[in-house]
């Protein structure tokens, strides 16, 4: 299955950007205390605003829930009723005979093919 790129791939970018902005803002505040020039303080405030916006976007990104799903085939044994779920294999078709039953050795039937939530 082709997968949509996970939004969390942007996490490292956000971390680098946020750290840089915070360091820059702190450096400007330091310069203000050293020189007493107001322009440093104004610049620091401006950078801090951008950092706050970045932090807000970052918080939204890391709280985003994407549930990964994988394609599975549900097999059912017509003799003993045993049900087995395994990863989908190319050529699996509904109601066709598939693997052997691990309990009684009979041929199992494909009862369903669907997307199942992956366990973490």
């Amino acid at each position: 299955m082709s997968k949509t790129p996970h939004p969390r791939r942007w996490v490292p970018t956000y971390i680098v950007l946020l750290t840089s902005l915070l360091v820059l803002s702190a450096a400007l505040v330091l310069q203000y205390f050293r020189t007493g020039s107001d322009s440093y303080l104004v610049s620091a405030g401006f950078i801090a605003l951008i950092a706050a916006y970045t932090a807000w976007s970052f918080a939204r990104l890391i709280t985003l829930k994407v549930i990964p799903r994988s394609l599975v085939t549900l097999l059912r044994c017509p003799s003993c009723g045993n049900e087995v779920t395994r990863k989908y294999r190319e050529g699996d078709m509904l109601f066709s005979e598939s693997d052997q039953c691990p309990k009684c050795g009979s041929k199992m039937l494909t009862e369903g093919i669907f997307l199942k939530e992956e366990k973490r």
Binding site: M1, S2, R69, L71, E90, M93, L94, F95, I113, L115
Partner: protein
């Protein structure tokens, strides 16, 4: 009294504010244009992916035809249009619409079959759906691009705002349509296959006395049900088609007097509802153009047959993408609900169960 400096400063402020009001509007237009362009980029990419998938899939079965010729023919096919009949005189419009849709369907199928001579009939049906997906995405993209270009040409902020507001919903639909590509390539059930899946499970569970195909791509199976004549109708499968339920119901009516017609279909759920939930309904549960719904309603009214519906809830994305586990559980529950309805019928009566939806990956 103001001195000269104050007056100049105030004048400059007024000019600046006046200029800013125009600038703000220009900036807003620029921001919306950028957003709409981004959305259009997503839709264009989806269209390209769908077209590529359709071409690749058809070319797998197109030997000995020239691949370039096949590609060119598919480019032409996705541009074809279905022209709805005129509504100036609405009398008999459903029959006209059915006629036009049937011609379009047959023409597309024969074109695709001629481009993929090595494909089996059910593979041809899946290829037809893939071409149809590319056609739908092409249509959506072209229409939105048209509105976008018009809005830009006239710098219409209101048109752009409307387009921008509608885009998230359209993107959701595009993603849903795109989600179907994988399913049709692999021939596995989608969410919309829930109805035919219920029908197929009923056939497997109770056994069938006979299966016939009285209408093209539509099967009627008489179940070996205890003391009741139960006729199950579904698209033939496992190729992707929806069948012609109204004609199949008419065929059954000529041979039996059903006490009830039960339609089983996927239904769109509201936000906050659970996918796979099964609910009862009254009436004919068939979406789409309404042609088949009309046909079955006509028959039911003429013969005074009650219409029951069993609905399996899901989102639009789930309906068009590979079936999810929640929907699958709904299918299993749907079988039990239909059986309950059949059990409640008096002994010796007959019933029709119609599994509505695309039967991709669901064999009879």
């Amino acid at each position: 009294m103001m001195n000269g400096d104050t007056a100049t400063s105030m004048l400059l402020w007024i000019i600046a504010l006046f200029a800013l009001s125009f600038l703000m509007q220009e900036l807003q237009i620029y921001r919306i244009v950028t957003e709409v362009e981004n959305y259009l980029g997503i839709i264009r990419a989806a269209r390209e992916r769908a077209l590529l998938a359709a071409k690749e899939q058809v070319k797998r079965y197109s030997k000995p035809l020239n691949p370039e010729y096949v590609g060119m023919k598919i480019d032409k096919l996705i541009e074809t249009k279905i022209i709805a009949p005129t509504g100036l005189d609405p009398f008999g419009i459903v029959k006209k619409l059915k006629h036009v849709l049937l011609i379009g369907e047959r023409a597309l199928e024969s074109e695709v079959a001629s481009l993929a001579p090595a494909a089996s009939p059910h593979e041809v049906q899946n290829l037809v759906v893939l071409v149809d997906i590319a056609r739908s995405l092409n249509e959506i993209y072209k229409l939105l691009n048209h509105y976008y270009l018009i809005a830009r040409r006239f710098k219409s902020l209101w048109l752009l705002m409307q387009l921008n507001a509608a885009m998230p919903f359209i993107i959701e639909e595009v993603r849903a349509v795109e989600g179907a590509i994988e399913a049709f390539k692999k021939s596995i059930p989608i969410g919309d296959s829930a109805g035919p899946f219920v029908a197929a499970l009923l056939m497997r569970k109770h056994g069938v006395q006979y299966i016939v195909e009285p209408v093209k791509d539509t099967i009627v199976a008489k179940l070996a049900y205890s003391n009741k004549d139960v006729y199950v109708i579904k698209g033939k499968g496992p190729g992707g088609n929806t069948g012609h339920y109204d004609d199949a119901v008419a065929w059954v009516i000529q041979r039996a007097k059903p006490a009830v017609i039960i339609t089983v279909d996927a239904a769109l759920r509201y936000e906050g509802e659970v996918s796979g939930e099964v609910v009862h309904g009254f009436g004919v549960a068939i979406g789409g153009t309404g042609v088949e719904k009309y046909g079955i309603e006509e028959i039911a009214v003429k013969h005074s047959i009650p219409l029951y519906a069993v609905l399996i809830k899901m989102t639009e994305v789930e309906a068009l993408s590979v079936m999810t586990e929640e929907v699958y559980r709904g299918v299993r529950e749907g079988v039990a609900v239909v059986e309950e309805l059949l059990e409640s019928l008096p002994e010796g009566s007959s019933a029709i169960v119609v599994g509505v939806g695309n039967t991709v990956g669901v064999p009879p």
